[in-house]
């Protein structure tokens, strides 16, 4: 399928990518070409084929419930672009009106 510029912008919004108009214009034909190629997967694999998401059957993994130290808080926060009051700092998420 061919993706329009508006569809590319919609997907970019879902992916949290602030694309420029130039990037949208470049991506639309590239994504269309790649998806057209990928659509070949529809030529095989009928309803009765079970999908495989992983080479081995995944199972729930648990470990003994023994308390143990985690990474030091300061070591983790040291890597953050913004930290304050022992927490990660982020811009406002809920607006005043919201």
């Amino acid at each position: 399928m061919a993706l329009s510029a508006d569809e590319v912008r919609h997907v970019a919004r879902l992916a949290r990518l602030a694309l420029t108009d130039d990037e949208v214009d470049a991506l639309a034909p590239q994504l269309s070409q790649i998806l057209a190629y990928a659509e070949q997967v529809g030529e095989v694999a009928a309803q009765d084929v079970e999908p495989t998401t992983h080479p081995f059957a995944l199972r729930d993994v648990s470990r003994p419930d023994d308390p143990r130290p985690s990474l030091p808080r300061e070591a983790v926060l040291a890597a953050a672009p913004h930290a304050e009051q022992d927490r990660f700092g982020v811009p406002r998420i809920v607006s005043e009106e919201g």
């Binding site: 879902l14 070409q33 790649i34 990928a38 659509e39 095989v44 998401t53 995944l58 672009p81 811009p91």
Partner: protein
Amino acid sequence: MDVSALEVVEAHLQRILSVDGVDGDGDVWTAVGSDDLDQRDVHAYLHVTATAAREHAADVDRRRAAGEELGPLAGVPLALKDVLTMRGVPTTCGSRMLDGWVPPYDATVTERLRAADVVVLGKTNMDEFAMGSSTENSAYGPTRNPWDLGRVPGGSSGGSAAAVAGLMAPLAIGTDTGGSIRQPAALTGIVGAKPTYGTVSRYGLVAFASSLDQAGPFARTVEDAAQLQALIHGHDPRDATSITDTPADVLGTLRDGIEGLRVGVVTELQGDGYEPGVRRVFEQALERFERLGAKIVEVSLPHAGYGLPAYYLIAPSEASSNLARFDGVRYGLRVDAPTAEEMNAATRAAGFGPEVKRRIMIGTHALSSGYYDAYYLQASKVRTLIAQDFATAFEQADVLVSPTSPTVAFGLGDKTADPLAMYLNDVATVPASLAGIPALSLPAGTAEAPDAPDASLPVGLQIMAPLLRDDLMYRVGWAFERDLGFTPIPAGDTAVEVL
């Protein structure tokens, strides 16, 4: 002649200084900026942990002198792909997104290497977040192929492969998602293996496509690669995808020979699209197998042709989910904006390069409402068919073989403008990735390039084995290598200067 671990490390550091384009001041040497890279620089490393490597080597020497027990590869230098964390050393994944990030913990692979006293020399260049087949998608500039500095080393583990091929490390670790160890091994004339999925821990490996990513060894010989795999594989309770089955003893049967083994030639992985030089070397490899007493049988993977389209839906889908963690909050880059969503979107726009954006977009689209069934679900069904194809083929043959890459190393910039053309280079490696089986690439000879009839460039042979039969893969590779007698040293007017 006795050589100390410190002398070995020092010799490699000097080699790195002379051919790689690093700034050798301070504890951690860093690659010079991509604008300053010289045409003669290989640019395999992003960071060289010079001081720590010297200290570790000196410690190994001291303990050896004191008669303490050391591991089989103690003191041997190694180059680590920059997708694996190492405490206190920058990890960038080839991306601006993680520029300057210093992880506070070791990946399990790193931890096991340290415990075995393998000396880590530094972190190697790669396609950004392991997405690519040429190492041209690194935000820090491309790596060059030591055999011809005008050509790519393959990708995404191109830095690790070039470090070994360029004599800047005898061993390296790479990661393989759709062929990112095997294809660069083929293009640089060395040995590279993707172990059975789940046998090497992914803890501390920055995820690209979780159901496919697997770390593995690079080396100049099959035995070295097997030795390195034996050090890093085994169950890890910190990785929920790590399998508990005991991996095969990859060293115990290495020298048993291949008399009577059935070597399966995959019909679908040798024809159209493979360069004439690659096909010729592959045919000679089959003759060699017969001389060694193996039986050549023709096998079919009827759905192999759908492997590549399935892979280029599944891997981006998983990537679009995995890379959501790069949101400007916990590590790496942040571009400030008034709201959290705008900050996320601006940060990701600034931090990711074109190929990563392309794959996030494909994956987000493939998983979005209305398209999931046609793309991701259908691709996952193809994955089932390919795994079934392999199971059938392994009833007829003990191992399967194909060329590793349809081409020899191509020129820098030759495929960057056409993403789909770049993807097609993975055609022979992707099926094994989808099935999770172990696969090895080793040198099979040299061939010309279509654009350079006089060139002599490495051609890789791929050996695929059933799940958990990594031992068989190495055993067949060892017998082949021994008979071929290939010397993996680049030579020629355009190659990196040989010592």
